[in-house]
């Protein structure tokens, strides 16, 4: 293994790689991280044996996430530019034969939208509006290969920083880029580094926060799984800027592949002299330890994360002092999010000015979002700041499945809020989203349709925050519990007049008086749903009715006779045989038998089954 003792050796190594690289060679890039959940490893093995069998000149490359997770397992084919998804083992012989013969793409595995087929990746609407900086390597390189990373300008930014720039130059460049913390709070990264640089100390620490606890977010996971070296390089640059000698990557234990690949990447970087003592012979030393989280959401908060690394219960401390002054073991410490760090090498290479060209006045660069929920193209997208929610959800995300209507988008996880349809034209930047009542957050974006009850969503997030509250401060510990009890009353039809006002008042006091971000933002889902969907709360309160058909006991299902064609699909799928009717004649639901599981509604192709208010039945069914 080569050990770089100067920048020139790294440059020589890279030019050697570039010479050897053959871009005309046919390669199949297969996502073998996220897509594993859909059998990507079986597909990979099938490709291996089929390529051998057909004696095809094809190289198989295992990459990280390629973004379009809805089509998992996915492969991209270079240099043909074809993108295939939803593959199964039996498809592989055909696919390999097509690639080997360079024939026409197989339409049944390519992306399709509104009846149109898109065989080439560059034409797929999902990829078109994207701009990849953080995810520049994700899905292109083998995350297990440091050479692949170096070949795509990897470690060139730290070489540049160490060779040509003073720490203050690095900070200036990052400040000029305007990048703000991608973990959610949006604090300017350059400023954070400047503070930490300003404090004198024999030891300083640099931490990567990969404790991505927000339910509905998987950006950091994808970066650590797909391009771990970019995070390490970002940390190196940051450590040089503030004068840190040791770093930690704090990653969730629930992400086994991310733990495995980042551990491997640190080992490789150390072996090649990119981590450790006297890097490139410049006298700069920095090393990284991987720390696994142990399943506590609150550890995403920086002071709690520090407590966890120190080996204590992950409980937050009041700030100031901020970690930049007194952090890990009382030393100056910078904590940056995975996505922020992955952007840093590109900022140093291209200059802060180039990065600042993207985005809006107050929010620069790109942001990665995890699209999930009731949306066609679930997956990972990276878009320039300043585009609208509508563009993300409908152009990139492909809209709402089954012809249903968009109701709201939940942004920012448990600390975020729900934005309704009238805010679809909100621009993606920290201020506009906050003003609309949600937060940028780490980038989870859950799309909801008319079959999602907003009171239930508020209850869901409160339940989450209440369980994850560390219990240190009273407003969060008891306030979220009381709020949860109140919202639960709505979902059970037990709410009383005045409860909405009570809930609102309580939400405001929890927000204003909690110690850390978890408690301060826990009421957000309630505040935002009360702001935009107050009517739903009122319907639950006064009519004891859940119009979305979610809160059990507050509705019954009814088949609209004029819409029902008597196709019998609902009756066949009903697990309790509550639906009766003759073929080609409208069916009926026996409301006593019906357990309102909703399977019939999912199956009905004519939108004939809908929730109805249900006062009398409540009494019968207790």
């Amino acid at each position: 293994m080569i050990h770089f003792s100067s920048v020139n050796e790294l440059l020589a190594f890279k030019s050697d790689l570039t010479k050897k690289a053959d871009s005309s060679k046919t390669r199949i890039r297969i996502c073998s991280t996220g897509c594993r959940a859909k059998g990507a490893l079986k597909i990979r093995d099938a490709f291996h044996s089929e390529i051998k069998k057909q004696k095809a000149q094809i190289e198989l490359v295992e990459t990280g996430c390629q973004g379009l997770c809805a089509y998992a397992p996915v492969v991209s084919i270079d240099p043909l530019g074809i993108f295939y998804g939803k593959l199964s083992e039996k498809d592989i012989p055909m696919v390999v034969a097509q690639i080997a013969a360079q024939g026409a793409a197989l339409n049944n595995h390519v992306y399709s939208e509104k009846g149109k087929f898109y065989p080439h990746l560059s034409e797929i609407p999902f990829f078109k509006s994207q701009k990849k900086i953080v995810l520049r390597n994700c899905g292109y390189i083998r995350p297990t290969s440091i050479a692949d990373y170096i070949n795509r300008n990897g470690y060139m930014a730290i070489a540049k920083a160490l060779g040509e720039m003073k720490p203050t130059d690095v900070i200036d460049e990052v400040t000029k880029s305007g990048i703000r913390g991608r973990g959610g709070a949006g604090f300017p990264t350059g400023l954070k580094w400047k503070f930490a640089n300003g404090y004198k100390s024999d030891t300083k620490y640099f931490i990567c926060n990969g404790d991505e606890g927000d339910p509905g977010a998987f950006m950091d996971r994808a970066v650590l799984e797909g391009d771990p070296h970019s995070v390490i390089e970002g940390m190196l640059i940051g450590a040089y800027a503030i004068g840190a000698t040791h770093g930690y990557i704090y990653v969730r234990a629930e992400y086994p592949i991310a733990v495995e690949y980042s551990t491997l990447a640190v080992k490789q970087a150390r072996e090649m002299g990119l981590l450790g003592e006297n890097i490139f012979g410049t006298g700069f030393s920095f090393d990284i330890t991987i720390k696994q989280g142990a399943g506590a959401f609150v550890c995403g908060e920086e002071t709690a994360l520090i407590a966890s690394i120190e080996g204590r219960r992950g409980m937050p401390k009041p700030r100031p002092p901020f970690p930049a002054e007194s952090g890990l073991w009382g030393r100056p410490t910078v904590i940056n999010n995975v996505e922020t760090l992955a952007s840093i090498p590109q900022i140093i290479l291209d200059g802060g000015g180039a990065y600042a060209q993207l985005g809006t006045a107050g929010s620069k660069g790109t942001k990665v979002f995890a699209l999930a929920g009731k949306i066609n193209n679930t997956g990972l997208v990276e878009v320039p700041m300043g585009i609208t929610l509508r563009q993300i959800i409908f152009d990139v995300g492909g809209g709402i499945p089954h012809g249903r209507t968009f109701k709201a988008v939940q942004m920012g996880g448990p600390s975020g809020g729900c934005l309704p349809a009238e805010h679809l034209d909100t621009s993606i930047d920290y201020e506009s989203i906050k003003q609309a009542g949600a937060i940028m957050g780490s980038g989870g974006m859950i799309v909801l349709d008319e079959r999602n009850c907003m009171v239930d969503i508020a209850r869901y997030f409160l339940d989450f925050c209440q369980k994850e509250s560390c219990g240190k401060c009273v407003p969060c510990r008891i306030g979220t519990k009381r709020m949860l009890e109140l919202v639960t009353r709505f979902t059970q039809g037990k709410a009383e007049t005045g409860d909405i006002e009570k809930l609102h008042a309580l939400a405001e006091s929890v927000r204003d008086s909690s110690l850390c971000g978890l408690g301060q933002t826990a009421p957000n889902p309630v505040i935002s749903t009360l702001r935009y969907f107050r009517k739903e709360y009122e319907t639950h309160l006064h009519d004891k009715f859940c119009p979305s058909g979610v809160c059990k006991g507050l509705f019954r299902y009814e088949i609209a006779t004029e819409k029902c064609t008597g196709c019998t699909l609902c009756a066949k799928n009903c697990p309790v045989k509550a639906i009766a009717g003759e073929k080609k004649k409208p069916h009926t639901i026996d409301t006593i038998k019906c357990e309102v599981c909703g399977i019939c509604v999912e199956k009905c192709r004519f939108n004939a089954i809908a929730p109805m208010p249900n006062k009398q039945l409540n009494q019968v069914k207790k």
Partner: protein, 154 residues
């Protein structure tokens, strides 16, 4: 199920440096990895090794969701209750698993074959509703797929 012996526990702990409070969590993780749970008897040995009080270690053990002090089954069924799964019917999934295995969240079947542990988010939102059984992911779950997944566990 035979609990691990004191010397087995010591064997794991001895792999770590002495007198370092920051190693409590990694030691607990190593013990759980090895035995499937953290036997309460191991607290004394960890305390001696790290110099951290047993009460503090107990506090850490019960604070983090990852740790369990009771033995678990051969297969850990982890349905996701993340947001994306929730809006796509995670409750039905969890209820079906509960009735199928006849246990509640956090419990283990009497034959120690299955444990049920719901998790806050698996980070596989594109598969919603999803679950993990040990290290394998299962997505787009409905009752049939759950039954098939559980049947694979032998």
């Amino acid at each position: 199920m035979k609990p691990p012996t004191a010397s087995q526990i010591k064997g794991v702990i001895n792999g770590f440096a002495h007198n370092s409070a920051s190693l409590v969590i990694p030691i607990l993780q190593a013990i759980q990895e090895k035995f499937g749970y953290v036997p309460p008897e191991s607290l004394k040995a960890i305390s001696r090794h790290t110099g951290v009080g047993r009460n503090k270690i107990y506090g850490i053990l019960t604070f983090y969701a990852q740790f369990t002090t009771i033995p678990r089954g051969k297969y850990i069924v982890k349905p996701c209750r993340g947001t994306a799964c929730h809006v796509r019917g995670a409750n039905n999934v969890i209820n079906h698993i509960k009735s199928k295995l006849n246990i509640e969240d956090g419990q283990t079947t009497p034959d120690y074959k299955f444990s049920l542990e719901t998790v806050a988010c698996l980070g596989t939102c594109f598969l919603a509703p999803a679950m993990m059984v040990n290290q394998d992911y299962y997505g787009n779950l409905d009752e049939k797929r759950i039954d098939e997944a559980l049947k694979e566990c032998t």
